[in-house]
């Protein structure tokens, strides 16, 4: 009751000078509006970022082979040929923290359908687990290829939405034949839409086929596939995969006869894959998965304890964390600037309250003469400042929220309404009111009633 009366007195006092009250509180309004808009836009982009990251597959680990080098010439990251499909199987088998894993063989070449052609960003040769790793099991149409297709190197593929658009003009491509580097593939499925990834690459610009097909029929004898080339070189053997189809690269060296093979056997090496994609069970288990994969691969590759790894494991959430940390830092920085503007607004309030105390000296004297105690006067001016700040805070919240809504409407930016920010804004504005209203109010309460009454 008493509080209510004090608040009403304060509102009445402020209403005597509405224009000034409005201008005084403008600093708070702008400060709070900036904070609210900032937090809402910041939270919105963080949320959008999280969504983008999750489209790349949750808790994904990317395993690259190490760097190959010859005579001091390095071939760059991922140029080693140390990863095998068996490594992938071993990871699935031996690492309990890994949910599933898939090998990937990459190619970048032309895809042709009828009189249309396109070079997709990704041509991935993989196993059916790939879609599970990438959280992409929902297909728009058709079916996924099977493990048998992988074993038989069957010429089947799945297309991403971008390819469907580019090659088939959004007609259903199921059952159609496309040619990848002159090898014809039957389209058996269409992937669902995934959108751009964190760095803005179109994830729908993709062809997925069994890795054996891509490796042996499309990329042919890719770098270091000695096994394949040695087979190709032996004329008495029938290579059912390679010789029948184009895509075979001309050999630099004269082909060796069976006798030469027998005399100087080339070491038969394993088939390599370009990378392995693994998924941990949960975010908490990522570190465990990394450790287990490292251990398994070191053992399989027979790396001694004093030797360094011949592979790299990249945690996709690492990149996500980096990006979201940057966003969070920017948001905090802007928040700090907004807070400074709140302090400036508070100084404005103090300034005007001091003017108001001086201007209303007679009123203060009168109130004291009719029985107001120092505490009453203190409370009155303090409440006035707080009411001013809270009104500014509420106005600022409305303005900031409206502003971020406008941003969403006009710029299509994602917005996330934050109740925490709103309650914080209310608390902050009340605190600013109390902090900066206290000195003028204290000054008012210390006035001598006689001098105050005589003040002109």
């Amino acid at each position: 009751m008493k509080v209510f009366r004090t608040v009403r007195t304060a509102v009445n006092a402020l209403r005597r000078n509405p224009m000034r009250a409005m201008l005084t509180t403008l600093g708070i309004v702008i400060g709070i509006a900036a904070v609210i808009a900032m937090v809402e836009i910041g939270a919105g982009s963080a949320e959008a970022l999280k969504k983008t990251i999750s489209t790349m597959g949750a808790n994904v680990l990317l395993i690259h082979p190490g760097t190959a080098a010859s005579g001091g010439v390095s071939f760059g990251a991922g140029s080693g040929v140390t990863l095998t499909p068996e490594d992938c199987e071993a990871i699935i088998r031996e690492c309990p923290a890994v949910r599933t894993a898939a090998p990937i063989v990459r190619a970048r070449t032309q895809v042709v359908y009828g009189n249309r052609n396109w070079v997709p960003t990704f041509i991935y040769g993989t196993t059916p687990e790939f879609l599970d790793v990438r959280d992409w099991t929902m297909l728009a149409e058709g079916d996924l290829f099977s493990q048998r297709d992988v074993l038989n190197a069957n010429k089947v593929c799945l297309l991403g939405q971008t390819l469907v658009k580019e090659l088939f003009e959004a007609q259903s491509p199921i059952g159609e034949e496309i040619r990848i580097k002159n090898v014809s593939f039957r389209v058996i499925g269409v992937l669902s839409r995934k959108g751009a990834n964190m760095v803005g690459m179109d994830q729908d610009d993709i062809v997925i086929a069994p890795w054996t097909t891509i490796k042996y029929r499309v990329t042919g004898s890719s770098l270091g596939n000695v096994n394949q080339s040695s087979q190709a070189g032996s004329e008495n053997q029938v290579n059912t995969l390679n010789n029948l189809y184009p895509g075979r690269q001309p050999s630099l060296y004269p082909q060796r006869s069976a006798a030469q093979e027998a005399n100087n056997p080339m070491p038969v090496r394993f088939e390599s894959v370009d990378q392995i994609l693994a998924a941990a069970h949960s975010t908490e288990e990522i570190q465990a998965a990394i450790d287990q994969i490292t251990e398994a691969l070191r053992e399989r590759h027979r790396i001694r304890p004093d030797e360094s790894d011949d592979f790299h494991i990249r945690d996709m959430t690492e990149m996500a964390n980096t990006i979201s940390a940057t966003t969070a830092l920017m948001t905090k920085l802007l928040l700090l600037v907004a807070m400074i503007s709140l302090v400036v607004g508070g100084v404005g309030i103090m300034n005007i309250m001091l003017v108001s105390v001086t201007e209303r000296t007679r009123e203060i004297g009168l109130r004291m003469a009719v029985g107001a105690r120092g505490g009453d006067i203190l409370r009155q001016f303090l409440v006035e400042a707080v009411v001013l700040c809270l009104a500014g805070g509420v106005l600022g919240i409305l303005l900031g929220h409206g502003g971020s809504m406008l941003v969403r409407q006009l710029l299509q930016w994602p917005i996330e309404t934050s109740p925490a920010a709103i309650s914080a804004a209310v608390i902050v504005s009340a605190t600013v009111g109390i902090t900066f209203g206290f000195y003028p109010a204290w000054k008012a309460s210390r006035l001598n009633p006689i001098e105050a009454l005589r003040y002109e």
Binding site: R5, R362, G365, A369, V370, G371, R373, D376, I450, L453
Partner: protein
């Protein structure tokens, strides 16, 4: 025991290094129900004396008893409560809150009273007070819409809202023409006669002082004449200081 009992009140102001003695030993008594005028030329110390009487200021030395209660020992907050309960103040320049209705102006002191009235009671009592000073039809007027005499009547209503036994008026007619002055003084006389309110008016106007029952002349910080009580006065028992005297903290 008189309502007001001053004994050898001195007030000295320190102006830099110079001590200015304004009151140099004032002693007099005021009985309950009196109508006293404090007269003196400007600078004689009559306003300072009124401030001390009204508990707005404390004397440098001397004793001031209000209904037997020694005032100089009270804290600022206790004096504020005393002013709220026991005194009404009327000023030369009215001192009404600008852009605030007459009703709210009159009700203002109620906000500081110990016994909180409900909103409706406060407004009713304020309206009642305005009726009594003849402004029943001006409740919602703001001071700038009222004449000087009307403003002073609002100020009187405000002074009476807590039903104080003592009313102080500092040059109440100083800003008014003679006709309105007469009206204001009539109100004072009526309050004194009919309701037994003790009135102490500070003035340099002999005409105003003429309405009082007793004139205390002050010259240069000392009482020239009028210190003696005129008549024995009937004690008035409406609430007078009991609260602070019974030891209750204001």
């Amino acid at each position: 025991m008189q309502l007001i009992d001053l004994h050898n009140i001195c007030k000295t102001y320190q102006m830099g290094h110079v001590a200015v003695s304004v009151l140099k030993g004032i002693s007099f008594e005021v009985g309950s129900g009196e109508f006293v005028a404090l007269m003196g030329v400007s600078g004689s110390g009559k306003s300072t004396l009124m401030n001390i009487l009204g508990c707005l200021d404390v004397p440098t030395s001397g004793e001031y008893r209000l209904q037997g209660l020694e005032i100089s020992g009270l804290s600022a907050d206790q004096r504020a409560l005393l002013r709220n309960r026991e005194f009404g103040f009327v000023f030369q320049n009215f001192n009404l809150l600008p852009r605030t209705s007459a009703l709210d102006n009159v009700a203002m002191p109620l906000a500081y009273a110990r016994d909180h009235l409900s909103d409706r009671d406060a407004r009713r009592r304020a309206a009642d007070m305005l009726h009594r000073v003849g402004l029943g039809d001006r409740l919602d007027h703001v001071p700038s819409q009222l004449s000087g005499g009307q403003q002073q009547r609002v100020a009187i209503a405000r002074a009476l809202i807590n039903r104080p036994p003592v009313l102080f008026a500092d040059e109440p007619t100083g800003n008014l023409d003679s006709r309105t002055s007469e009206e204001i003084l009539k109100i004072f006389q009526h309050l004194n006669d009919e309701e037994g309110v003790t009135i102490i008016v500070v003035t340099h106007d002999a005409n105003v002082a003429g309405h009082a029952r007793r004139i205390i002349r002050i010259h240069d910080g000392l009482i020239q004449d009028g210190a003696a009580l005129l008549r024995p006065v009937k004690p008035r028992q409406e609430h007078l200081v009991p609260e602070t005297r019974s030891g209750e903290k204001p």
